[in-house]
């Protein structure tokens, strides 16, 4: 099967959706002339003249304008440049995008995708490295996705663009360069928003993650296997609404749960998974839930400090061995 990068996969998804729907357009900072700061939009402006729009540095407009365009009948994709800049347009996401359908009694739909490149890419420090997905699972009215590999990157983005609800699409900056198998268009299987995937079956522990956290989950499962421990690895893919059933079914089988993400551990999206398992499947757990994430500090700059911010596969392995 052909292999392409995560970044190319998102570009293919955009091109296919723009081809299919004339009302799809994309706007953001430096996406047309530059092709996106990570190259993820390269070539699109030539293929779709006038539909890849460089905006001024105006995040409230990028998002609020996207919402307004959706209300008028377009299907916008808006790019945040860096996920951190979501902080600038909180109202447009929290009070407008997420509320309009409900507060107007279902009169409106907002088929909008907000693309947010996130994560630590080496020295980005406090304002260019964050993973902020967890904020948004607390807000009804929007959906939150965070794919972990090129194939999902493509299929999840296509599903997000076709979705009539607003979707926040978190795409990790380090993952952009990673390659993976992506089938030709005719062999693609559409992604259904809200579905998790059991990526690897196992019997001893369930490891749940998403986005770049999946690298830790997979690496830890490999290390555990060498010691004869079989980990089941679940990629959540969608954080809101998340696939409770797949996780709980797995916990019923393995009786142990380990959660890992790159974002700050406190109040993280996976805390919701832990709490739900405690509410609905506590009797199946043979050990406390293990949870890994970043410490409760802003992201530091110096390599020696940034190193302390990361989770490593060995952390998971040691923790899991401690509860077996």
């Amino acid at each position: 099967m052909r292999k392409i990068t995560f970044s190319e996969a998102t570009r293919e998804a955009m091109a296919e959706e723009m081809e299919k729907y004339p009302e799809v357009f994309v706007m953001g900072e430096d996406i047309a002339r530059q092709g996106g700061i990570f190259g993820q939009f390269k070539g699109l402006p030539d293929e779709f003249p006038g539909r890849v729009i460089d905006t001024p540095i105006s995040e409230t407009f990028i998002v609020g304008g996207g919402v307004g365009a959706a209300l008028a009948g377009a299907r916008p994709v808006v790019d945040m440049h860096f996920a951190d800049f979501i902080g600038v347009c909180g109202d447009e996401i929290i009070n407008q995008m997420a509320k309009i359908r409900y507060m107007f009694g279902g009169q409106a739909k907002i088929p909008l995708v907000l693309r947010a490149p996130d994560g630590m890419a080496g020295g980005g420090a406090a304002q260019h490295s964050q993973s902020l997905e967890s904020f948004f699972i607390h807000i009804p009215g929007i959906k939150v996705v965070a794919p972990s590999n090129p194939y999902d990157a493509k299929m999840v983005l296509k599903a997000a663009i076709e979705c009539d609800d607003p979707v926040l699409y978190f795409e990790n900056k380090v993952l952009y360069k990673e390659t993976g198998e992506v089938p030709e268009k005719e062999d693609e299987v559409p992604y259904v928003i809200g579905k998790a995937r059991v990526e690897r079956e196992g019997t001893d522990v369930t490891i749940v993650s998403y986005s770049i956290g999946m690298k830790n989950a997979r690496a830890a499962a490999d290390l555990l296997e060498k010691d004869g421990i079989k980990a089941e690895v679940i990629d959540l893919i969608t954080l809101s609404p998340w696939d409770k059933e797949t996780v709980i079914n797995s916990v019923k089988k393995t009786h142990r749960l380990c959660l890992v993400a790159e974002s700050v551990k406190q109040g993280g999206a996976l805390a919701e998974v832990a709490a739900t398992v405690a509410e609905e499947a506590l009797e199946y757990l043979d050990a406390p839930v293990l949870r890994y994430g970043a410490p409760f500090t802003p992201i530091p700059f110096a390599p020696t400090l940034e190193k302390m911010y990361r989770v490593y596969p060995e952390d998971l392995v040691n923790g899991i061995k401690g509860v077996l």
Partner: protein, 323 residues
Amino acid sequence: MATVTKEQARKFYETMATIRAFEESVKRDFLAGEIPGFVHLYIGEEAIGTGICAALRDDDMIESTHRGHGHCIAKGADVNAMMAEIFGKKDGLCHGKGGSMHIADFKIGMLGANGVVGGGYNLATGAALASKMVLKNDRVSVVFFGDGASNRGTFHEAANVAAAWKLPVIFVNEMNCWASTTPYRTTTAVENISDRAKGYNMPGVVVNGQNVFEVYDAAVEAVARARRGEGPTFIEAKTYRIEGHFVGDPEKYRKKEETMQIFHDTDPLTHFLGILPEGISFEQAELDQIRADAVEKIKKAKEYAVSCEYPDPSEYITDVYVD
């Protein structure tokens, strides 16, 4: 000057009278404890929404504010369904999920009131972007906002883009002199908010917001300009907030007599005969009849709203998502 027929003038008066009757009814019923939430009244400002919306087509779009009943009526919303919404009933425009501050009627291009002051600029500008650059139609959008909202940064982002890309959006500033309890002079250095339009290379015009003909005239020109692809216009309509910020506001920050004097001197309904364009005349009795009919219509709207059911409790969970 845009030509206005007698029939149009009658319609202007009728719309303003309907808004006035609606607001007086809402005020009474809110004070009687019949309406939940908060309500913000448009009394005294009726000529602005009326004159602007009269220049729009049915498929043009407006973004309204928390003080939005007048915009909604002027754009053509059914007053029964509006009143039912304000009473929180299932037959309301938003099925009881929005209320006064979050009322919308997408059938007529009323894209919603906004509970966030200054929340509408980007939405209206985005709608205009969709019309011009994506869907390639000639729909125009309007955003209403007060002088208080003019100090939001969102104004800058939207106005800049609208002018840079010549988007068909009209910024209608209802300069009512008060941001809740704060007089505009204590927070704003420019004499006219529309002076700021120059900074965006956008025409900025000041009109008497108490004169529906003057407002309409400015709107006709701005709409034509927007449809020709020449971009946005900033219309500043000078008015005055006659009521408190919300119904029940004790208004300790200003003198009631002064407000009532301004109302007496500028009420767009009582001064209507004096501002009629040349060649148009009405008998006072005709106008009185229009007002009486409006009061009757709103009385029925209130009765309708009261007769409607509240939404079934099970409805709390619907309309969060499409799928």
